[in-house]
């Protein structure tokens, strides 16, 4: 076993600590624990930026045309003369908000942080298979974040074609100013991001397959690891397709090729490109784009499986069914992509096939939800902040999931496609669920990451503000969509001309939504404060604060190179022996041997 091979490096000696310099410890670290923290810090920063952008455009949507000091403070005279943002900037904000949230916070941040932290810890490995590649993965991520941030400060503005960057809009600077340098930077940033994601994912896969400690069979892996493993496979198979789309788009923009362009006259200029297809780009984009939803979601579900079981003091219900559902979801996620394209002019028959596969994916998702709920049944629930966020995740996964049934129905999609109903749907099902999962993960594994405890009371305040704010934003948003409001509209004045009743509904709801958005955003300050304060001043964490079974809690609180003093722990049981009859305590860690006559679950 490769795990044994690592052993040969001589970690048996607990006094093996060599002094590390500041640079090799905090900056160019190859230690999975530090890299996880680096991912988390970068993602939190990016998340705050993206959240701020959303508040800026929420202000515009609720009070269109009214000058605001807040908007002027951030956008300045060039982009918001008199505190009213320009139309182009509105599109830029929407685009960058989406890009950062989906890729930088929920892909890089969620997978990057927790895969790095938990894979070696929970499978009982000294570190990732390749520490160097792992470091490289973070620094590519960092570079791509910088490029994305820089793109917001160029004179012609950031990318403005929506986070889906459909050409021709994204290919033609004559069509919108952001498709100039801003779009170029977007494409370069994402190319680097994809490289980061691929390196990271390959490393995760190799580590899970090869470095599991003695006794850790695949069916004894915690569901978190299963989730990260499957997520990494999804990433490896789908991100390269986005890269190819980005490269072809770069060629269309810079080399005059016509992959995505055909018969276009823009800004009075007749282009010679002929024969390309904008739909080809959409197919390529969504071939990543849909698995991407699950790349975001599955890690969150994995984290919550662990948290919900630990805090219900009860085994996760249907462990094997949970693995099966993850695998089924992952497989199906590759054959549903064109449900984003029902009304793009794609052959309607192809549409029907995708209706079928898309609705199929609801089955494993439903199984997961039922299993979570049954795990709560007859439990002995402890409401840590992490547990509350997990309940929030299950709730938002349901609320967002059920509206998917309407969107997946091609006929009904005609009515709601590209309206706020879609925006509400995916924000709830993938945005909220993944963010809740991420918060749950941070609260739960903070002691493992920093050796300190976060403040529980502030955690409660944060949770309640967040969930009330989030539902306050996204429930009304469904009704904005049901009223027919198209997304990515700078304002809804057009409705004022022909349907004042609908106009009033949209405006009333938009004001409500913006108030809740501001409320929820302010609530995040509580989290930020708690997070950074606790890193420095938090209570020192005990060895196993949540009385949990997985291996990470058997490692010393203080971070050491190689994770465990002496020999690696040996695994004797699955990770969910909570409240097992006959056990002395209500938890039995994985490294405790079976008692005489005791049966594995």
């Amino acid at each position: 076993m490769a795990a044994v091979a690592t052993e040969a490096h001589g970690h048996n000696d607990s006094h093996d600590h060599h002094e590390e310099s500041f640079v090799s410890k905090y900056i160019f670290s190859q230690d999975h624990k530090m890299i996880g923290k680096q991912f988390l810090m970068t993602a939190i920063f990016m998340g705050v930026v993206a959240m701020l952008l959303s508040i800026l455009f929420r202000v515009q949507l609720a009070w269109p045309g009214e000058g605001s000091d807040f908007v002027s403070f951030f956008l300045g005279e060039q982009w918001a003369p008199g505190g009213v943002m320009k139309e182009d900037m509105y599109l830029g904000l929407v685009t960058i908000h989406g890009t950062i949230m989906v890729f930088f916070l929920l892909t890089g941040g969620l997978s990057g942080t927790f895969s790095n932290l938990l894979i070696p810890f929970q499978i009982g490995a000294r570190d990732m298979a390749s520490g160097f590649l792992n470091m490289l993965s973070y620094w590519f991520f960092f570079l791509s974040s910088i490029l994305m941030l820089v793109s917001m400060f160029v004179e012609s503005g950031p990318a403005m074609a929506g986070w889906t960057i459909y050409p021709p809009l994204s290919a033609l600077p004559q069509a919108v100013s952001g498709s100039g340098l801003g779009m170029t930077l977007w494409l370069f940033s994402m190319s680097v991001f994809i490289a980061s994601s691929l390196i990271g994912s390959l490393n995760y896969i190799v580590t899970v397959l090869n470095l599991r400690t003695k006794g850790m069979s695949m069916t004894r892996l915690p569901l978190t690891i299963w989730a990260f493993f499957v997520t990494a496979i999804l990433g490896v198979l789908s991100f390269p397709v986005l890269l190819s789309a980005a490269l072809l788009l770069i060629m269309d923009r810079m080399a005059g090729t016509s992959f995505f362009l055909s018969d276009i006259i823009v800004g009075g200029e007749m282009l010679t490109q002929h024969g390309g297809s904008p739909l080809l780009f959409q197919h390529l984009f969504w071939f990543l784009g849909h698995p991407e939803v699950y790349i975001v979601l599955i890690p969150a579900l994995g984290l919550s499986s662990e948290i919900i079981s630990t805090n219900s003091r009860k085994p996760i219900f249907g462990y094997r069914a949970m693995i099966g559902s993850i695998l089924a979801i992952a497989f199906l996620s590759f054959i549903v992509w064109a449900h984003h394209m029902f009304i793009t002019g794609m052959n309607p028959f192809l549409g029907s096939v995708f209706v079928f596969t898309t609705l199929l994916i609801a089955i494993p998702s439903a199984v997961k939800v039922f299993n979570y709920i049954t795990t709560l049944w007859k439990g002995s629930i402890v409401f840590t902040p992490a547990m509350l966020f997990t309940i929030g995740l299950v709730s938002s996964f349901i609320s967002g999931g059920v509206t998917g049934i309407i969107l997946a129905d091609a006929a009904l999609d005609i009515m709601v496609h590209d309206t706020y109903f879609v925006v509400a749907h995916f924000h709830v099902v993938m945005g909220l669920s993944a963010v809740f999962g991420m918060f749950a993960g941070v609260y739960h594994w903070f002691p493992r990451m920093f050796g300190k405890m976060m403040n529980t009371s502030l955690g409660y305040v944060h949770f309640w503000i967040t969930i009330i704010g989030a539902y306050g934003v996204f429930f009304p948003m469904h009704f904005v969509g049901l009223a027919g409001a198209p997304r990515r509209y700078y304002n809804y004045s057009v409705y004022g001309d022909f349907d004042t009743e609908t106009f009033n509904i949209i405006m009333d709801l938009n004001v409500i939504i913006t108030y809740f958005a501001i409320f929820a955003a302010l609530g995040q300050l509580v989290f930020l404060f708690n997070f950074f304060y606790s890193i420095f001043k938090g209570q020192v964490a005990p060895q196993n604060p949540w009385r949990s079974n997985t291996l990470e809690w058997t490692a010393p609180v203080e971070h050491i190179h190689g994770n465990w003093h002496g020999e690696l722990p040996t695994v004797h049981r699955w990770p969910y022996d909570y409240s097992k009859p006959g056990a002395d305590e209500d938890f039995v860690p994985q490294n405790v041997p079976l008692k005489e006559g005791e049966e594995e679950h």
Binding site: P168, A175, F317, Y319, G345, F370, D499
Partner: protein, 395 residues
């Protein structure tokens, strides 16, 4: 500027205040020997109760939204297939609501009921094949039904139009719509984007429009001759950038004109008639109640989306790739206004695919007339065909 300073000051003071509060909290919790890993009974109970309360408020808020904003915003359907869609939609929504309420009741009730109680141990329950089979099979059956009904409507809606359906084209560009009626022969004239000139904005294909496009490419402003003259003029001072731009344009126009000449060679003048009788209409789209329409869509620059909320019609318009949608308006504007007691109401065609800065302003008014009114309106257009307008402008 003052307001910016004020904002910064508030932020800084806020952070200081919270830090101080934390200090106090920390000291008091140290005195009380509080351990962050131990959740007290009081906190545990409080959160369990709050979860139940939250679930109730969620339901109440949701029902309030349904009552207040429910289905009214979109208005009743105004097309033949739209009514069926609305029914399908309501059925699906009923299923969605049922599942939402049921699972949430279980989720929050269990969370509340099974909160930790001293002396009560959790029940070791790892799996149950029976339960798992049930809740795999039940959703599968329900989804199967949803799929069948959904696909039936989808197939009918996207099916080919009847031969007698009126052909109508919607042409989109940043940031407006133009409609083209197929005229007396109910056949839309062909087009090619290279034929676009000031006098032929929709790039329709006739012998005359090909000639004038060639003429324009050769001798128009910034045409090939114009550019060559400029580039060869030693007196004209231009920057290197301008010069290279002109060379690129010249090169592009050289390629385009070759294609135009080929087109001219292939063109059969018998087809001209299809285009000449087309009627081009801006600003307002007039439709006839009860008439089936076969819409075809075209875009000049980027992707747009033709979106008629009340007709339940939506289709992207894609440059270089024609798209279509068929529908039958079945209520006139007047009738719709009366039925909903809203005399200001009008149908509209909006753009529903991000297409640039003024995306949100891209619209066309739509009026559905009774057959009698429609006939009368068409009569006013009999001398406004493409041919009439083309030659009027050419003179």
């Amino acid at each position: 500027m003052e307001s910016k300073l004020l904002i910064i000051a508030v932020i800084i003071l806020g952070v200081i205040a919270v830090t101080r509060l934390m200090k106090v909290y920390d000291l008091s919790s140290k005195l009380g020997n509080k351990n962050e890993a131990e959740i007290s009974e009081r906190h545990n109970r409080l959160n369990a109760n709050l979860l139940l309360l939250f679930c109730a408020s969620l339901f109440i808020g949701f029902l309030w939204l349904i009552v207040h904003f429910g289905w009214s915003g979109r208005g009743p359907a105004a097309s033949a297939h739209g009514h069926g869609l609305d029914v399908l939609y309501n059925v699906n929504f009923a299923i969605v609501l049922f599942v939402f309420f049921l699972t949430h009741i279980f989720l929050f009730y269990f969370a509340f009921k099974y909160v930790r109680k001293p002396g009560v141990k959790a029940y070791y329950f790892t799996h149950s094949n029976k339960l798992e089979v049930i809740w795999t099979a039940v959703p599968a059956v329900v989804l199967f039904i949803i799929i069948i009904f959904g696909l039936r409507s989808w197939n009918t809606i996207t099916d080919d139009a009847a031969p007698e359906a009126i052909r109508l084209e919607l042409f989109s560009k940043q940031f407006d719509w133009t409609a083209r009626y197929s005229g007396t022969d109910n056949r839309l004239g062909k087009f090619d984007y290279k034929l676009t000139t000031d006098n032929n904005e929709l790039a329709l294909l006739t012998t005359n429009t090909i000639d004038s496009a060639i003429q324009n490419m050769d001798y128009g402003i910034n045409g090939i001759h114009d550019l060559e003259a400029k580039l060869n003029n030693p007196e004209l001072v231009v920057s290197a950038k301008e010069r290279s731009d002109m060379m690129t344009t010249l090169d592009r126009k050289g390629r385009l004109i070759r294609l135009l000449h080929q087109m001219k060679g292939r063109h059969d003048s018998k087809n001209d008639a299809y285009a000449w009788d087309d009627i081009i209409q801006k600003d307002t789209l007039y439709l006839c109640k009860g008439t089936p329409y076969e819409l075809s869509f075209r875009s000049k620059d980027v992707i747009h989306s033709a979106y008629f909320p009340e007709f339940r019609v939506q289709m992207n318009t894609v440059p270089g790739f024609p798209t279509r949608f068929k529908f039958t308006p079945d209520i006139t504007t007047k009738e719709y206004q009366d039925a909903n007691k809203d005399s200001d109401f009008n149908f509209a065609l909006l753009c529903n695919k991000i297409c640039g800065g003024s995306h949100y302003k891209m619209k066309m008014a739509v009026v559905v007339l009774s057959p009698v009114e429609y006939k009368a309106w068409m009569k006013t257009k009999s001398l406004a065909t493409f041919k009439d307008k083309y030659f009027a402008k050419a003179e």
